[in-house]
Every structure is written in C-alpha cells, then in structure tokens.
C-alpha cells in the first residue's frame, strides 16, 4: 500500500498538525485596518502530525541517495557524508546562534570561519577566501564580480570578454552573462585539453579573464596549464579556477601555485557536506592578494585573540547575500577537514583518481572511449557504439542502471562527446561496488546487442517509469489545484 497521494489530497477539514500555547496577552482586533487583513485563510492542507510524518517517510523512500546506493554522477562528487557532521551542525551553539548577536557572543562561530578560511587557503594555494557564496554558481558569479572590480579599479573597463573552453560547465557562461560580460568559447584539442593556438587567437586587451575547470569536465588535467596562465596574464587577463573537480587534486596540485588568481570550492562536493537534494551547498571563493580588497563584506579578522567582522573595506564589491554564508555547511566542512587532515585529503584524491581509472579501463572494452588516456577523478564514456550498432541511446543505457539500484552518471555532458556518460565514482566507493557497477554496465552492453528493444523500455522497477517530459513542458502544471 505505497501511498503516493499529494499532501493536499489527504487534507480533511478541521485536522491540525501543530499546537501553540494560548495567547497570553489581551487580543486586540483593531490593530490592522480592514484593507490590510487577509480575507480568506491560505488554503493550506489540514492534516495531523502522524499523517505528515508518514507522507514524508513514504516520499523519502522514492529517492535514490548516496546512503542507499552507488551515485556516480559526474562532476557532482556524490561522496559519503559523514554522520558526525549532522550532529555537530545541530549543536545549539551553532544552530541556535542569531546572526545579529554581538561579536563577543559568537567567538566560536567566527573562529570556525577564520580557521576554515585558512584551511581552504592552504589547500588551494590562495591568500584569502570569502565564505559568503551559497553555492558553486554563486561563487562563480562572485568571482566574476571580483574580476570586474579589479579591472575597473585599474581603468581597464574595456575588458568585457571571458574565455571559456567548450568543455566548461553550463553555469560558467550563464554566470558570465549575469556579470554583464561576454563569453568567448574556445575548442579543445584532440587530447581533450585547451587548444593553445585557439587561445592565442582570442587573447587581446578586451579579455577580462578565463574560466577553467581543472581537471576539466573530460576528467583531464590541463597539460599546458602553466602556459595558459602565462599567456592570459601576459594579455592582462585574470585566471579563474572552477573548483568543481577539486576532489582530484588535494595535496597534489594547488590552483594558486599554477598561477590562478581566483578559485571557488564546492564544499558540498569536495569537503563531504551533503547535497541536500539540490542544496544547501556552499561556494567559498579564494583569491590572491591583489584581489583581496574587492572581496565581499564582511570578512572575519582576528586581533589580539579576538575575532571580529570587518566591514571597513571601501573597495569591496559589497555583499552577495545576507549575513556570512551557509554557516551550517561551513561547520560540516570544517569538521570534515579536521578529521581527514593533510594526509587524509591526499588519500581522498588518490582513491578518487584510482577508482575512476579502474572503471574506465574495464569499461573501455565494451564502450567507446573518445579520449583513451589516464583520467583524474572522472572520465567520459560514450554510448556511441551502442547507438550506431544497435540503435540504443545513452538514455536507454542509463535507464537500465536504475533497475540495478545504481544512479546514472551525468549524461549528454560535456557536449563535445557524443552520447556522453560522465562517471565519477568518488573515493568513498569500494572496489567491490565498482566491480558490481562494471558487471552491470557490461551486462547492459551485452543486452544492447541481444535485446535492444527491451533496453529501450527500462526502467521497470522504479517508483515511476519514464516520464513524458515533453508534454510536461508543453502544458506545464506547476502546482496542485483543487478539482472544481
């Protein structure tokens, strides 16, 4: 009896799911003028507490999650989220702290922020870090605003172009537009790295900077990263490091040392904080000294063993959101880094890279691999062979994974690989899990040869089967409405 009704369909008049104390002050009915009063109560559902709980527990069971199965979603780093972090972030000293409390009452919170900033500076090779951005995309936008402020300060307002390789995340160009900049896309070479000649062609005094994901979305470390940094700096541009894939390089290379001026980390990818079903994340942005004056307000500073929030920073771009960032997420990342230490983080990257290479090598026998060379923490497999030979698409392949309790990889991205499947196992998966995944993928490849029609119908065992997304977009139903 799996219940899938909407909460609204469970509503019955008069039921309640809350209790409040009786109003202990005299009720006055003349506080609000009539025209400001709500005439009809908001038609929220009427359900009892137990019904609400059952509703959500049933819903939770319809989800695939890291805690119930393999989740090799490329570029999302779906690693295990340590349970201690959940406990720590709920301590009253963190969860019940008001952001307007005076500094002397929140020294512990400011310490967490100041120390986390130091750790991130060390890991990224940067001078200062703002913890304010709420997510990776928010960090990107912040980083671009910093680039803009920097050039403006130097009287270089004509710099309006941001270079992005064709393997870059879709958020990169969207962030560029939001910052009033223009995207210039450059192609990858036959090895999946930036084409240096193409880069040279677009470099001029209109270039504000370049956004690089390194390792890139194909899972390769940019071979010519030093040369790229040199060329862009020579042209007067700045270098932005998209840290989406930082899980591959901890303790092995630091963006700041490579020559990058700005980077963002995704704490929810690299530092073990949960993805929350799509948030909350956290996207701290690190910079080199020359960009520090422009960082968002406020910054946490320390003087004589006391922490304080510094707003006296006249060149700051301002704030990008309320208060100080997704503090609860920062606490989790802090705890994670303290439990891993330098050696642990290095081991994280080693295992992440080894796991990815292991799967890649095994699957290269049954699937097409456009770039066959050692990858970092992820790689891009292609369903091209199955499509060309049996008419089975990447969608068909990954929908079969669902019937095996495996979450599909990121699909049809990056755009430069046909029928792409971007696979990132992370370091928190065992060889035993990887072997099972490989076995399932091989089985599907075999089925594509033997019974392609059956493949196209999958999944069979999921809470719903393939949904008609085209009709849903044509006639959007975006909320529940009572039947007339």
């Amino acid at each position: 009896m799996k219940d899938r009704d909407l909460i609204f369909e469970k509503s019955r008049p008069g039921k309640i799911g809350y209790s409040l104390p009786e109003l202990d002050v005299p009720q006055k009915d003349d506080i609000l003028p009539d025209n400001l009063k709500r005439k009809e109560s908001a038609p929220l559902p009427e359900v009892a507490e137990g019904e609400v709980i059952r509703h959500y527990i049933n819903l939770s069971q319809l989800n695939h999650s890291v805690d119930n199965g393999f989740y090799p979603l490329g570029s999302c780093t779906m690693k295990y989220n340590p349970k201690i972090n959940e406990d720590i972030s709920r301590l009253p000293g963190f969860a019940e702290l008001h952001p307007y409390q005076s500094e002397d009452m929140v020294q512990g919170a400011l310490k967490i922020m100041a120390e986390l900033e130091k750790y991130l500076c060390e890991i990224g090779g940067m001078d200062r870090v703002t913890l304010q951005p709420a997510a990776g995309a928010h960090g990107e936008l912040t980083g671009l605003m910093l680039i803009r402020a920097y050039h403006k300060h130097r009287g270089q307002d004509q710099r309006k172009k941001i270079i992005i390789p064709d393997s870059g995340h879709g958020t990169n160009p969207a962030s560029v537009t939001m910052c009033g900049y223009e995207t210039v896309e450059i192609p990858s070479d036959e090895k999946g790295c930036i084409d240096l000649e193409a880069l040279k062609e677009v470099l001029d005094d209109k270039v504000a900077g370049i956004m690089l994901t390194n390792p890139n979305t194909l899972g390769f470390y940019e071979e010519n990263v030093s040369e790229i940094c040199r060329l862009v700096h020579e042209a007067g541009g700045l270098l932005y490091f998209d840290g989406a894939n930082a899980n591959a390089i901890m303790g092995y290379s630091r963006p700041g040392d490579m020559g990058f001026d700005i980077l963002h980390f995704n704490l929810h990818k690299t530092f073990g904080t949960p993805h929350g079903g799509g948030g909350p994340g956290s996207g701290p942005v690190g910079v080199k000294d020359k960009l520090v004056p422009f960082l968002p307000n406020p910054m946490v500073e320390e003087e004589d063993g006391k922490y304080f929030l510094d707003y006296d920073r006249p060149q700051s771009i301002g704030r990008v959101r309320s208060f100080y960032g997704n503090f609860g997420v920062l606490v989790k990342a802090f705890t994670y880094i303290r439990m891993m230490g330098a050696k642990g983080l290095k081991q994280v990257s080693e295992d992440a890279v080894l796991n990815a290479n292991y799967i890649m090598e095994k699957l290269s026998k049954s699937y097409y691999l456009k770039y066959h060379r050692n990858c970092m923490h992820e790689f891009v497999l292609s369903g091209k062979k199955q499509k060309d030979e049996h008419g089975v698409t990447t969608t068909d392949i990954v929908k079969n994974l669902l019937d095996h309790g495996i979450h599909p990889p990121t699909v049809y991205f990056p755009l430069i690989v046909e029928e792409a499947m971007m696979i990132e196992p992370t370091e928190t998966e065992s060889k035993e899990t990887l072997d099972k995944f490989i076995e399932v993928m091989e089985k599907i490849a075999k089925m594509a040869e033997e019974d392609p029609e059956k493949l196209k119908e999958a999944p069979f065992t999921t809470p719903v089967r393939r949904l008609d997304e085209a009709s849903a977009a044509r006639n959007p139903i975006l909320k529940w409405e009572p039947e007339e």
Binding site: L62, S253, T433, R465
Partner: protein, 449 residues
C-alpha cells in the same frame, strides 16, 4: 592509509593499480599532472582527529558561543527564532533526502520532486500568486534575482526600490546591479514608510520595477495598494514585493494587490536561525512571467503507464541547456531548507498559519505599547506593525544592550549602522515564542537601564 570514510584497503588499491599496469599511485599521478605544477610539499593542516576528538573539539568551540536559545531573544531583521515543530528535524534527517542531489533522474527522485512540487503549491497558496519556483539561496539574493528578472522581462534598466527594504537586501541588489549596469534608485523613507510622493516622481517608462517590503524593515505594514497603483506611471513596470511568509497568515496576500513578483526569506518556516544560513528564499510570480523565472521548476507529468509523476520542467530557461542565454546561473535550490519549509506549512496548515501570524501580531503589539509607555523610550513611527518595531531611547543603544544582555536578553538590532542619526534606535522583534512574562521582564529591564 585506512580511514573510516575510505572503504578501499591496501589490497584493493594494489589490485586496481595492477589492473592498470601500474606499480604505484605515484606513477598514476605522474602521468596525469605535469611535473611543473605538482605540489611538492605537504599541506599544512592540523593533524587529523578521531571522531571522538572532533566531537570534543567542536563541542568546545560551540560552547564558546552563547546561543540565542539560552537567552530571551528579541532579534529579527529577517531571521528570527520562531517555533520549529519537532517533526521537521525528523523529516529533514532522512538521509534519502539529504544525501540525494538535484533530481536529474526523475524515476528515482520522486521523493525530492514531489516535495518541491508541493512546496511550489504551498508558496502559491500562501502568496496568492500563480507560480513559485523550487527556492533560491536566501531572501536577499532572491530580491537581486527578481530585479534582474524584471529588467529582462520589461527590457528596461531602472529599478526603484524603497529604503524601507531590509538594508542587507538592498546591498545585495546593489552588488548584482553594479555587475549588470542596472540603475538603482533608492527612495528614502518618510516616518518609517516608503515616501510615496518621492517614489512616484521616479517612475517613468524606463522603470523596470518598483520594489518594496511589507512588513518593512522597521516592522511596519505598508499599504501595498497605493504602491501597486504607481505601476501605471510606467509602461511595463513590474511590482516586486518582499514579504515575511508568516505575516501572510493575517495580512492581505500579494496576489490580491496586482503584484508581479513576490519573494522573501523562508527561514521563519521551520528552519533554525543557524547564524544566518543555510536558509531559503522563496520566489513566486504571475503566470505570464513563468518563462522568465530563475531557478528550478518542477512540473507534473505522466509515465509510460499513465501514472502520475513529477519532473524538472521548462529547463530551456536554465544554464545547463541555454548556457549564456539562461535566465540565471542558479543551478541548485535550497532543497533541504525548502523541505523543512514545506513540512512546516503542512503541519501548521490552514488554521495554524493564521494562529501563528495572529500570535506574532498580538504579542509584538502588546510589547510595543508597553515600551511606548516607558519613561525614556518612545515608538518613533506610526503605522501598524506585524512582529517588529523600532524603538527610540534617550541614550545610545550600546548602553541598553550591555545592561540587558547581562540580564539574559537579546534586546534587538542597532539601527545606526543602517540609518544615519539612529544611534539611540533599535529594532525589536517578537515571535510567537515570547511569553507575556518574558516581555514584562524585558520592559522592566529596559526601564531599569
């Protein structure tokens, strides 16, 4: 090394390396990362801690803080300690929710998808608007996105915003506007409310949007009808309203005053104050603006067997499809916070949302009157208030704060950093959590300063 978060042992690592024809991990990294950018040293981080040590350390640090819950808090300013039903943390602690990601694969994400669909529906019910998205980072960034959206929809660049909007929100709008070259006109307040005459003068055919807040930063409920009417002075001018979701239990919903975009801070809906985040912004609009909206939208669909299900929809607005032509760069929402908000609204329901609004309203007005009658204090602004109000004292706020904190109160927010000449002013917030006894003691405490 072996670590509790890392499941591979040395045997597994060796076997995997062997299958790659490699003898060491060094060899693998050596062929991936060019030697000239290899980090040669060791990261300088504190030595790793066991779980027990980490728990001790973090508990110690937490104990250095003085949580608002250990005091009697009158702090608001967009975030306040409203009551959180116990059921909520049990719901958001389900790891099927919190260890999943953006629902890219609808077949195995119906829990997250159905929840967001319900969240969108609940926000529409609360605001009286046609369509709501899956949530934004917070109230401030939601306003910044609303301003960008209004500019894109009207193809105009001028934004007229009332100074009674939360100062942090205005700062965020300024930051976003600088980057895109929008012109932001701030309208000064008059007696704590939007100066309508001054606002009217700024509105013309180039005005993309009028933005105001009610209850405003000073807690005053602004009459939205005359503000809404100002839209007529522009050509395609849209009205953006910032609201406190809990006020909508008792106050006229934006859908009733011809509002185009409604947003606000969703923290009061079942989310802990958490030093300012993570929270959520909610975001709703009229039907005709649907395709201009930022953020995720979840829609109803049917599967191949005709069964109802939910999918991410209208994705052609979004960055991963449209890249530089996207309506925004936002690619996540605050899904877990939105889950808490939806659970809160479902638990409170039709009756509870009214009652909690009514309690805030009655209690705040009780304390306001009480303080107004205290010698040395006055209520500087007329106008009805919902749960917050400004107080003017006859001495600097710092003195008051010092004495009251010693007595276990968090007396309010100093207004001087945001408004010049308000060194003696502070903002008091009263939620349903406060009792008459606490308020009476607080008033006595103020009197005794």
């Amino acid at each position: 090394m072996n670590h509790q978060f890392l499941p591979n042992n040395e045997d597994s690592r060796r076997e995997m390396l062997e299958s790659l024809g490699l003898s060491s991990i060094e060899e693998l990294f050596g062929c991936c990362i060019p030697a000239n950018v290899r980090f040669k040293g060791n990261l300088e981080l504190p030595k790793p801690l066991s779980e027990m040590e980490a728990k001790k350390l973090l508990t110690q640090i937490a104990n250095v803080n003085r949580p608002a819950s250990s005091m009697v808090s009158f702090l608001g300013g967009g975030v306040a300690d409203h009551y959180i039903p116990s059921a909520i943390d049990h719901i958001v602690s389900r790891s099927e929710f919190y260890t999943a990601y953006t629902p890219y694969q609808a077949e195995v994400s119906q829990g997250t998808l159905q929840n967001i669909f319900e969240f969108q529906s609940l926000i529409c019910m609360l605001t009286g608007m046609d369509v709501a998205n899956a949530s934004m980072y917070d109230g401030a960034s939601a306003l910044a996105e609303a301003v960008l959206m209004a500019s894109a929809a009207s193809r105009q660049d001028k934004i007229v915003i009332s100074q009674t909007v939360n100062p942090q929100y205005r700062e965020t709008v300024q930051t976003y506007a600088k980057a895109t070259g929008l012109e932001i006109i701030e309208i000064p307040h008059k007696d704590g409310q939007t100066d309508l005459e001054a606002m009217e003068k700024e509105i013309d055919d180039k005005t993309a949007a009028i933005a105001f807040q009610s209850p405003n930063f000073f807690g005053i409920i602004e009459d939205p009808f005359p503000i809404s009417k100002l839209k007529e002075k522009g050509k395609k001018t849209l009205l953006i309203s910032v609201v406190d979701p809990l006020s909508l239990g008792v106050l006229v919903p934006p859908g009733d005053y011809d509002c185009d975009i409604v947003l606000g801070e969703g923290q009061p809906l079942g989310n802990p104050i958490s030093f300012g985040g993570p929270h959520l912004g909610f975001f709703a609009a009229t039907d005709k603006l649907t395709r201009k909206m930022p953020g995720r939208l979840i829609g109803q669909a049917k599967d191949v067997d005709g069964k109802r299900g939910f999918v991410m929809t209208l994705q052609t607005r979004e960055q991963h499809i449209r890249r530089h032509r996207a309506t925004s760069n936002i690619c996540t929402n605050q899904a877990l916070n939105a889950l808490a908000a939806a659970a809160y609204l479902n638990l409170m329901g039709k009756k509870g949302i009214q009652e909690v609004g009514q309690q805030c309203l009655q209690k705040a007005n009780y304390l306001k009157e009480k303080i107004d009658n205290l010698p040395g204090y006055s209520i500087p602004f007329d106008g009805p208030i919902f749960k917050e109000f400004a107080v003017k004292a006859n001495r600097p706020f710092e003195e008051i704060q010092k004495v009251l904190v010693e007595k276990g109160f968090l007396p309010g927010i100093h207004l001087q950093p945001y408004f010049d000449g308000m060194d003696d002013w502070f903002l008091v917030c009263v939620t349903e959590n406060r009792t008459r006894e606490e308020m009476d003691r607080f008033a006595a405490g103020l009197e005794g300063v």
